[in-house]
């Protein structure tokens, strides 16, 4: 039985187990991936017959000339750059601190993780009230420090900052959990021998902790980045089904949604989807390249 050759019978048998997963993923994942690429190169698309005509790069040329899409791409990148590094640093810092206080660690861990399990839409509604320029708690607290009230939700200059703060808050717990697991898998002996050799806490951190947790840092960065590239729900709630004042909160997924759902322009929306896909692939490949030099497995 162990070194048996694979037979047709075995293959058929296995296919019975694989069929439900394969059929569903083919209809709802594989076919749509191909379909998006195909739809993105059609000049015209007839929804009622689901056929496209006129193969060309029209949609991509349209995107390359549409100022709104430029803004969506720029905003998405600013958002990612605003969220990812800050989120990684803050969550690493908090997990290091949590590791110092073992007795209360699980309680704090529970609290820090709460936002992650809750619906983005529902909790973003709460933040709309916190961000309110006249009655919001945030401006009230800033007022205690003699800061002028900020139009978090109606001043286009603050749109991305508003989204970034919320998104860091929402996903911090996930990163903290992943860092805590990594920190606790570093063997104690390393620190013991290092302190015997007279290494300072900072030296231990940079020479032992950081290199040994680098695979997790890499994972957390990739996760946070991919999630940030796809930001949508909070924009929808914060700006009542618009992309913010003067489209200041326009992102790639919001653009895709608007072209698809509001304007019924399926080919351009598909092209935007392809651009998002390519950006995520490039970012992941780049990260992999960088990780080969800095991540120690």
């Amino acid at each position: 039985m162990i070194n048996q050759k694979t037979t047709w019978k075995q293959t058929l048998h296995a296919l019975l187990y694989l069929a439900p997963m394969m059929i569903l993923l083919t209809i709802f994942f594989l076919y749509p991936i191909l379909s998006t690429f195909v739809m993105s190169i059609f000049k015209n698309y007839d929804f009622y017959r689901n056929v496209g005509t006129g193969v060309s790069l029209t949609n991509f040329i349209y995107l390359s000339k549409d100022p709104l899409f430029h803004r969506a791409v720029i905003n998405t990148f600013v958002f990612v750059l605003g969220v990812v590094p800050a989120s990684v640093i803050i969550s690493l810092g908090i997990s290091l601190l949590l590791n110092r206080f073992k007795k209360v660690r699980s309680l704090f861990q529970t609290i820090y993780f709460l936002p992650y399990v809750t619906s983005t839409v529902a909790i973003a509604m709460v933040w709309v009230w916190i961000y309110h320029s006249d009655y919001g708690v945030l401006n009230f607290i800033l007022g205690l420090f003699h800061t002028k009230p900020i139009g978090w939700l109606n001043d286009p200059h603050y749109t991305l900052l508003t989204l970034i703060i919320f998104s860091i808050w929402k996903n911090l717990g996930l990163n903290i959990i992943l860092f805590l697991v990594a920190l606790n898998s570093v063997p104690r002996q390393y620190y013991l021998s290092a302190s015997l050799d007279g290494a300072s806490t900072w030296q231990q951190f940079t020479n032992i902790t950081l290199p040994l947790i680098s695979p997790t840092t890499f994972l957390v960065t990739i996760n946070a980045m991919i999630a940030s590239f796809k930001v949508f729900d909070q924009i929808y709630v914060f700006y009542h089904n618009t992309a913010g004042p003067n489209n200041s909160g326009m992102t790639i997924v919001y653009y895709l949604y608007q072209k698809f759902y509001t304007e019924n322009n399926y080919p351009v929306a598909s092209a935007a989807g392809v651009v998002l896909f390519v950006i995520i692939i490039i970012a992941t490949v780049l990260q992999n390249y960088v990780s080969r030099h800095y991540v120690h497995y």
Binding site: L18, V117, Y135
Partner: protein
């Protein structure tokens, strides 16, 4: 020594402040939900109303068909999770224990789907379901999420960790593959299956973009979609909005508090949350 103590006090204070920031929006949600609209809009903000209006929750629940939305969310979440676990357990078993032609090719093809942003797939899936006349149906909400290769991948890892000898022993005892899978493998890997189920329950309960797109009929809305449109209807009645938000948030928090061990296990075992 006292320097170290001072540092510890400072660090503890930072953690405490952080925990306060994490939990405050939830407190504020409940606190606002039990205020009158005018109490909600006072400057300085009122931390907790003198006479909390707990009846606001009842009024908000009755002011829209929230019972129906709750039922929709429960049904969709239950069916999606059950279907996803069923299809994933079968597939993970085949990849882990069975021999067949094309195993690696099939595995790699489906593995590559994990890289694709789901947002990119909503357009063709919407077209497919429209053609099948399934828009505004439970099937539209459930079917696309009834299989996930991430779950297959994670369960396969769990199944792989069970020594092959167990499989051969069961075979010698005359167990069929089907019996071995459900009577031996699934019970052994119970904690991984529970962990993946909870992650899917959370994802399904909180999903927004897809349910919003495939439901135009108000009766078919799930809670997050219903709550976001409810907030447009009640305008500036923040206590009502906060009460509605509570309906979506609280069930997942309770689930998390009860089962957090498994949730954390699911995240750290899977390693990736995509």
């Amino acid at each position: 020594m006292s320097k170290k103590k001072a540092a510890n006090i400072l660090f503890f204070f930072i953690l405490l402040l952080g925990a306060f920031i994490m939990i405050f929006p939830f407190f504020w949600m409940i606190s606002t939900a039990v205020k009158t609209p005018s109490e909600a809009a006072t400057v300085p903000p009122m931390l907790w109303p003198k006479h909390p209006h707990w009846g606001n929750f009842v009024d908000a629940f009755k002011s829209a068909p929230f019972a129906r939305y709750l039922f929709n969310s429960l049904l969709v979440t239950f069916c999606t999770t059950a279907a996803q676990m069923f299809t994933s357990i079968l597939a993970a078993f085949a990849f882990s224990k069975l021999k067949f032609w094309g195993k690696n090719v099939i595995f790699m093809i489906f593995l590559s789907t994990m890289m694709v942003p789901i947002e990119m797939l909503i357009i063709p899936n919407y077209v497919t379901l429209t053609k099948a006349h399934l828009i505004n149906s439970y099937l539209a909400l459930i079917l696309p999420w009834s299989a996930s290769f991430f779950t297959v991948f994670t369960l396969r890892q769990a199944f792989n960790s069970v020594p092959p000898q167990v499989y051969y022993a069961a075979k010698i005892d005359g167990a069929s593959d089907w019996n071995y899978l459900w009577r031996v493998l699934v019970p052994i890997c119970r904690s991984s299956i529970v962990a993946m189920s909870i992650l899917e329950i959370i994802a399904s309960w909180n999903d927004f973009l897809w349910p919003m797109i495939v439901t135009n009929d108000a009766n078919m809305r799930t809670l997050p979609v219903a709550v976001s449109s409810f907030s447009n209807d009640v305008g500036t009645n923040y206590p009502f909005m906060m009460a509605a938000a509570t309906f979506v948030v609280i069930p997942m928090i309770i689930l998390y508090l009860i089962l957090q061990k498994y949730i954390i296990q699911g995240i750290t075992k899977g390693g990736l949350v995509g």
